[in-house]
């Protein structure tokens, strides 16, 4: 975990010589990608739960989505800072990615509301799983919708000129990406282990008393 943090923080920004604000890219994009596949993983586990009916998938799905939401929030924050640095405003509806993440963030916050308002049990597991599946269906659909919405909200389409990535920049990006993925994976394992231990201990306590 320490290694992953070190890599994300110190290896990643080692070059990127043109335009300092470009450096946010190395943390923003990997985090966004990680959030996506956390959501994807959560939905996949949810599907397995519905398919196989094994209870352990419930915790796995929940933890993955929890992770995804944290990374989603980080994407929003770093994206907002990036927008401020390069366009001078804290929020811009021009950036599809940010708007999409806002939608997803709201959606997954609702997921937690749902989860916490249901009594524990197989029914809660399945309800959350169904809602998690809706989430992954929502991602491409809202992406499309936001793309389309652009041209009536802003008739002049905003084109962000993406400078071609050079070799070292691409390498840095890959390292950063790997580091963030690793970080997410380690956090996922740790939280999952904690949640499982918590559940086991509760069961043990009931057995003993």
């Amino acid at each position: 975990m320490g290694l992953a943090l070190l890599m994300a923080l110190f290896v990643a920004p080692e070059d990127a010589d043109q335009g300092v604000s470009q450096r946010i890219f190395y943390i923003h994009v990997p985090i966004a990608l990680t959030a996506y596949y956390c959501f994807g993983l959560g939905a996949w586990k949810a599907l397995r739960l519905l398919w196989r009916g094994e209870e352990r998938y419930d915790l796995e799905s929940y933890v993955a989505i929890h992770q995804g939401t944290i990374f989603g929030a980080l994407t929003l924050i770093t994206g907002s800072i990036w927008a401020k640095a390069s366009w001078g405003v804290w929020w811009t509806w021009d950036s599809n990615q940010l708007v999409l993440f806002l939608t997803l963030f709201l959606f997954y916050c609702a997921y937690f509301m749902l989860r916490f308002s249901l009594p524990e049990g197989p029914r809660r597991a399945r309800s959350s799983a169904v809602y998690a599946l809706f989430g992954v269906a929502l991602i491409p659909v809202s992406f499309l919708a936001i793309r389309l919405a652009e041209d009536f909200i802003h008739p002049t389409t905003f084109t962000r000129e993406g400078p071609q990535m050079t070799g070292t920049m691409f390498a840095t990006f890959c390292v950063a990406w790997a580091a963030v993925t690793l970080l997410a994976y380690v956090l996922y394992r740790v939280e999952l282990a904690g949640k499982r231990a918590d559940r086991d201990l509760r069961e043990l306590r009931e057995l003993l008393s």
Binding site: M1, L5, A8, L9, P13, G19, V20, S21, R23, I24, I27, H28, I31, I70, A73, L74, I77, T78, I81, W82, K84, A85, L183, L187, V190, E191, G194, A197, D198, L201, L204, R205, L208, S209
Partner: protein
């Protein structure tokens, strides 16, 4: 603020959030440890009670 400060802010935010997250997990872990110790104590006492 200069561009560099924004970059620092972005990385700093990520760092702080991850730190807080790890701290929360650590706190949970401590709680779990305490509970486990309690249960071990309970189990031991029960085992002792049965033996005597």
């Amino acid at each position: 603020m200069s561009q560099g400060q924004y970059v620092a802010a972005a990385y700093g935010v990520v760092f702080v959030v991850v730190l807080v997250y790890v701290a929360i997990i650590a706190a949970k872990l401590v709680r779990l440890e305490r509970e486990a110790a309690e249960l071990v104590e309970l189990a031991r006492r029960r085992a002792g009670g049965n033996a005597s």
